[in-house]
């Protein structure tokens, strides 16, 4: 089954064309076609093991850290194939930032957490200004402005995650990938991060992986539903079932499996 669906209304920043992801000889994610719309929030939903996080990490080549990882097909960003041999993954990650599942601030001060990325990427401007601007964008400034020199690890889980978001926006990426950013947070922190996603949308293209369907319906403009199937050899393989505007996915999906998943009768 091949789905070729795209967000037609707006311009596509990232195009995923017939992508297969292998770990060694094991085909983990198969045959993905998916275009990501500019300055929109796209949610990836689906049961565990459906490959949504794996695919997300393909967009900034973070899977390169796994030795057995192999990708077939093409992921293009502004029509440039990210997996072409002449592409420098370091430059890709600078354009396409990432927020992780568990807050992972560096064991450094709040200030240094934000300055790190800017500094390695050769930022020349006023660092204090950048730190303040990034923290404001992450709606964290008022809470931490008096303790910028304190360790980022001293913050609460929700604050840490917003610090990680601030750290990511500080390098002024084009796209922000979020891998279940709220799964380790309490409900209030979750709401704050969701609000933040709404605001960030103005400047950034966001892709968010989530387990939480309410969250997808709250924050996403587009939603991609992934599922997992067992192959003849017994391997579990992720694939894209359906991709459309979020309202469509939640209210009137084309596929039976999507309908069952979003209504909670599944997985």
């Amino acid at each position: 089954m091949i789905n070729h669906q795209s967000a037609k209304q707006t311009e596509a920043v990232i195009k995923t064309e017939n992508v297969n992801v292998y770990y060694g000889n094991f085909l983990a994610v198969a045959g993905i076609y998916l275009d990501i719309a500019k300055n929109q929030v796209t949610a990836f939903i689906g049961p565990s093991g459906c490959g949504k996080s794996t695919l997300l990490r393909c967009y900034n080549r973070l899977n390169d850290l796994i030795p057995s990882f192999k990708l077939q097909g093409a992921i293009t960003y502004h029509n440039q194939n990210l997996y072409a041999p002449e592409i420098d993954p370091v430059q890709v990650r600078r354009r396409i930032g990432m927020v992780f599942q568990r807050p992972n601030p560096f064991p450094k001060s709040i200030y240094e957490n934000i300055a790190f990325g800017a500094r390695i990427n050769g930022y020349q401007g006023d660092m204090d200004e950048l730190v303040e601007k990034s923290l404001r964008q992450a709606a964290l400034w008022d809470e931490v402005k008096d303790k910028l020199r304190q360790s980022g690890l001293a913050l609460s889980g929700g604050q840490q995650q917003r610090l990680c978001i601030a750290r990511t926006v500080a390098i002024q990426p084009d796209v922000v990938l979020m891998d279940e950013p709220c799964s380790a947070l309490d409900p209030i922190s979750t709401l704050k991060v969701e609000e933040l996603i709404h605001q960030l949308k103005e400047n950034y293209t966001i892709i968010i992986v989530t387990h939480n369907m309410q969250q997808a319906s709250r924050v996403a403009d587009y939603t991609a539903f992934f599922n997992v199937r067992t192959t003849e050899k017994g391997d579990r393989q992720g694939y894209l079932v359906e991709y459309d505007r979020t309202e469509k996915i939640f209210q009137n999906p084309k596929e039976e499996a999507t309908q069952q998943y979003v209504s909670g009768r599944f997985g």
């Binding site: 850290l65 990650r93 560096f106 790190f116």
Partner: protein
Amino acid sequence: MTSLSDSSKIIKPRPVNERYLDNVFKWTAQIFALTIALVLIWITVQVAIAAVPAIKQFGLNFLFQSSWNPVKSEYGVWPAIYGTIVSSFIALLIAVPIGIGVALFLSEDYLPPSIQRIFVFLVELLAAIPSVVYGLWGIFVLIPFLKNFTPLKGPGMLPAALILALMVLPVIAAISRDAITNVPESLRQAAVGLGATRWEAILQIMLPAASSGIIGGVMLALGRALGETMAVTMLIGNSNKVSLSIFAPSNTISSLLTNQFAEASGMQVSALMYAALILFAITLVVNILAQVLVKRLQKI
């Protein structure tokens, strides 16, 4: 299990002697555990008591006097202290960068895991070779080799420090590697996700996060180097003179002890015990600091 014979009653109170045995067992275990700390204290007390006559006679002058003359009963360990510190310092100067380099090389993905394991094992093996074998190798291979292109004439500070470096390198490498691999992988991913290159992530994120463990490893290596005996005794030349040249023979506290103990008597034994006490005190402080730092690493 002792009461199955009269099985008419299934539940009966635990026999008194069993409870007694249980307690005896626990107490025995506890006493043996305390033995370890007692041994440490015993070593300290024993060495200190034997050193008392020398401490009374020479006081702190002992540390700064340079002559060691059993005939005239003049004793000073300054040359040995100097040699101990300098040889350990040179050894660390070499072993710290190499050890951390090895640790990084073996914690990154430069090698496939199976080959990496072999290399880790080989580095461990460096630590397993007996000190006296390093000494033998130093005498017959390293010193002749160094003579070819340095002013070295025979045993001296340089070969001793080089062998010391080789001996403490595995300590630094192993503990640094533990410290580095203990840094959560998520930190590396975060750094790489922000566009850091491999070495920007290593130098600015991974190493600082692992620093207390690495420093602990270096301290442990320092303790090892300060107290290392056989290889140093065989290679350093055992000359009780302070010389600034690394090609000149020198002495360390441990080589002083090795050379003199077996034939010493009277005040000389006490003076040697005093020297041993100094070495013990230095290594104890270094070791305790190292343990505290490494322990902090385990808590992260």
